[in-house]
């Protein structure tokens, strides 16, 4: 079987199986950055650097080494793997990426606070933590005062200073054993966000975590940048916070196509509430793989809003385990693609215990030759009586060449449940278009109105207002003749 690549590096025909040898250069890259005398991380002060170096070699290394071995064994998934049947990652497996090392360049070189402001939302009222090419940029980050006992810091710092808070959860929620990308991320595990919320603590401002990919510096041999952000959120009983993960890359150049492979682990204790946003707007040549693993205890509430706009290939795995009675989760999603973009959402909601509630609504707008996959797995365990689950995936195809695969996957092992699911694929309503045009509204504006109306309920669910407005602006900018369209929304 042969794989032909199009100009943007996307696999066009059926993918060739990826041999485990494709994983070898990751091992080499790992060895390179671990070489003595190079400090891979950046931190606020030298004393921390020293403590990091010593601590990193103590308890984390076996985990990372095991993950690297596991990744070498697993190799990249192929389309023969059930979970990857519709999406070939051959373009990622074939490409070569390099890690940004802190010593190679100043992490935030060329990026000013004004640039960040453009990539962020109106963020004055949030905590903002910025990483550039995977390396923390302290000069672009800030924290507001935090309630007593709350730990909000870089994961690297937490590994060194808060081992007792980190170790029981890190790499235990997201399992590297059977997932290649999680194994790979764990092998390169270094930095990201750590948030610990003690009992009944509330962080009122949103926590904005911004990962920026910049073109690779010449000193890195021109290799495209890879990053493996790792985030860990441990929410104690009755705590509450909202987290925004943004991924942004350069919009123009294909050569700078980076590879982001993020893993976010979330543990919610009883009655904890987390509102979680993820906004991906890489350039059109980037690769983005993101895994979110959530474990919910009694009566906790988790809401996810996943918005995917950029990247040549974006794959999301969102797994929620409703591990104790009365837990509730809501998964909202929106993907908008054009050109030859591919986006793939695999979500799993595991109703493990009785009387849990899940709500899921994903919407897609696909134009050009783009392709979308939605696979929504709902598991209802034998024990999970009183499960209440509703899932819907709705897609709008704007071109005859766009394609979407949607698959609800229900595994129900208890009869005392309410489970509903719906999947729909359609085009813009011709009758509605004509109605608008008959009221003097031009064709392009009418199309924009209807597209906007289609996505507006997902956007409306975003409760961080400046984020909602920023997203609205981003979406409107993609619609032709959009002036005034915003007004049309209800």
């Amino acid at each position: 079987m042969s794989t032909t690549k199009t100009a943007d590096g996307r696999s066009k025909t059926g993918a060739a199986p990826v041999a485990p040898s494709d994983t070898a250069h990751y091992l080499a890259e790992l060895a390179r950055v671990r070489a003595p005398g190079r400090s891979p991380g950046s931190s606020l002060d030298a004393s921390l650097d020293a403590s990091l170096d010593s601590s990193l070699t103590t308890w984390l290394d076996p985990i990372r080494d095991a993950a690297m071995r596991r990744f070498s064994e697993l190799g990249f998934p192929t389309v023969r793997d059930e979970e990857w049947r519709k999406t070939s990652v051959a373009p990622i497996a074939k490409a070569r990426f390099g890690l940004q090392t802190a010593t190679a360049t100043q992490p935030a070189r060329g990026l000013t606070a004004a640039d960040i402001a453009r990539l962020s939302f109106d963020a004055a009222e949030c905590h903002q933590i910025v990483f550039v090419n995977g390396v923390h940029a302290p000069e672009l980050s800030w924290l507001k005062p935090l309630p007593a006992g709350v730990v909000l810091c870089r994961l690297e710092e937490a590994v060194a200073r808060h081992r007792g808070l980190v170790e029981p959860f890190l790499a235990r929620l997201a399992n590297p054993a059977d997932r290649a990308f999680t194994a790979l991320n764990t092998a390169f595990l270094r930095d990201g966000l750590f948030l610990h919320l003690p009992d009944e603590s509330v962080v009122p401002e949103p926590i904005h975590l911004l990962f920026v990919t910049q073109p690779a510096p010449a000193s890195a041999g021109g290799a495209a940048i890879m990053t493996h952000p790792r985030n860990l959120i441990v929410a104690g009983p009755g705590s509450r916070a909202s987290l925004v993960e943004s991924y942004v890359g350069p919009q123009e150049s294909e050569q700078t196509a980076g590879f982001t492979n993020a893993v976010t682990e979330i543990s919610l204790a009883r009655n904890a509430v987390l509102d979680h946003y993820s906004l991906q707007r890489h350039g059109q040549a980037a690769f983005h793989v993101a895994t979110t693993q959530v474990r919910q205890e009694r009566s906790s509430r988790y809401t996810s809003h996943a918005i995917s706009l950029g990247a040549a290939l974006a794959r999301y795995d969102i797994d929620v385990v409703l591990a104790e009675e009365g837990a509730e989760c809501t998964l909202n999603g929106l993907y908008m693609t054009a050109g030859r973009q591919q986006v793939d959402f695999h979500t799993t909601i595991d109703h493990a215990r009785p009387n849990c509630v899940s709500r899921e609504l994903y919407k897609g707008v696909l134009d050009g030759h783009s392709r979308g996959v939605f696979n929504g797995k709902i598991i209802v365990r034998t024990d999970a009586r009183g499960t209440d689950s509703i899932q819907a995936n709705r897609n709008l195809l704007l071109s005859a060449d766009a394609l979407v695969d949607t698959k609800p996957e229900l595994q129900i092992f208890n009869n005392d449940v309410k489970c509903k699911h719906a999947a729909a694929i359609g085009q813009l309503d011709e009758k509605a278009l004509f109605y608008l045009r008959s009221r003097a509204i031009g064709l392009e504006a009418a199309r924009s109105l209807l597209i906007h109306a289609f996505v507006s309920d997902i956007v409306g669910r975003i409760s961080v207002e400046p984020l909602r407005e920023a997203l609205e602006t981003l979406l409107l900018a993609r619609l032709p003749e959009y002036s005034g369209v915003k007004e049309a929304a209800l």
Partner: protein
């Protein structure tokens, strides 16, 4: 105002209009009546520019210009308005916005400045009272969850705001109870006036009790087979469409 000459049209390969000739002058109200399947709604759709119909012969001049060459939005901007038989529900788009965008598109086309929010609101209030429409409907999605009567009133209200030169009312009476019919007809009558032509398309005569036309035409099998004054509608009401059918078959014997 409107001149239809020898108009032939097909839909899905099937010939529906077979040579319509009709002239409507400014300020006139014409009723087009006919049995189901005679081509009434097709005529309305061809005039307003809906996709799915092919004009195979003939032409339509509107204010001396080729109407059929204009996309639907240009027709609307030039002053053609279609009141739909089945108004479309558009979730997520507000009624208020639709009207404002539409009105401003018309004004821009006429070289007029956009209406500011206050003036627009004033206009909306005035025109809503014309059809006794509940103001809360304005902030809802277009036609979503409206009753049949509310939808039809909304059509006439939109017509009042957009102030067209040529209004085509497609079966505006269908599905209305007598009170709603009276309100809708009252709205239409208030909009009659110099410079505005109307084409009422209807199956039943009862609408014409409330909106008295200047001329009545009977459409049958894609052609206008009879034209007359308002009394023609009363004859139709008494004798039914079968009477027309007989007349047509007598005057056009089948040639073998």
């Amino acid at each position: 105002m409107l001149e239809i000459r020898n108009l032939h049209a097909t839909a899905g390969g099937k010939t529906i209009l077979r040579g319509i000739d009709l002239t409507v002058n400014a300020s006139e109200v014409h009723a087009i009546m006919g049995p189901n399947g005679s081509g009434k709604s097709t005529l309305a759709h061809v005039l307003s520019g809906r996709d799915g119909f092919e004009v195979t012969q003939g032409e339509v001049l509107y204010q001396g210009r080729n109407l059929l060459g204009m996309p639907p939005e240009e027709r609307a901007r030039e002053g053609v308005f279609l009141a739909f038989q089945y108004p479309v529900e558009i979730p997520g788009v507000s009624n208020m916005y639709l009207l404002k965008a539409g009105l401003n598109a018309v004004r821009k086309h006429q070289g007029l400045p956009e209406l500011d929010a206050m003036d627009f609101l004033e206009l909306v209030k005035e025109k809503m009272s014309l059809v006794e429409m509940d103001q809360t409907l304005m902030n809802r999605s277009v036609n979503e969850g409206f009753s049949g009567g509310e939808k039809k009133r909304n059509e006439i209200f939109q017509m009042a705001v957009l102030a067209p030169k040529l209004a085509i009312l497609d079966e505006t009476d269908s599905g209305l109870d007598i009170d709603a019919l009276r309100i809708v007809a009252g709205g239409v009558n208030a909009l009659r006036g110099p410079g505005r032509a109307m084409l009422l398309i209807t199956h039943y005569q009862r609408l014409l009790d409330y909106i008295v036309p200047d001329k009545v035409h009977v459409l049958f099998n894609g052609r206008i087979v009879k034209s007359g004054g308002k009394d023609l509608a009363l004859d139709l009401e008494k004798k039914g469409y079968a009477w027309i059918e007989e007349e047509v078959s007598r005057s056009q014997p089948v040639v073998s």
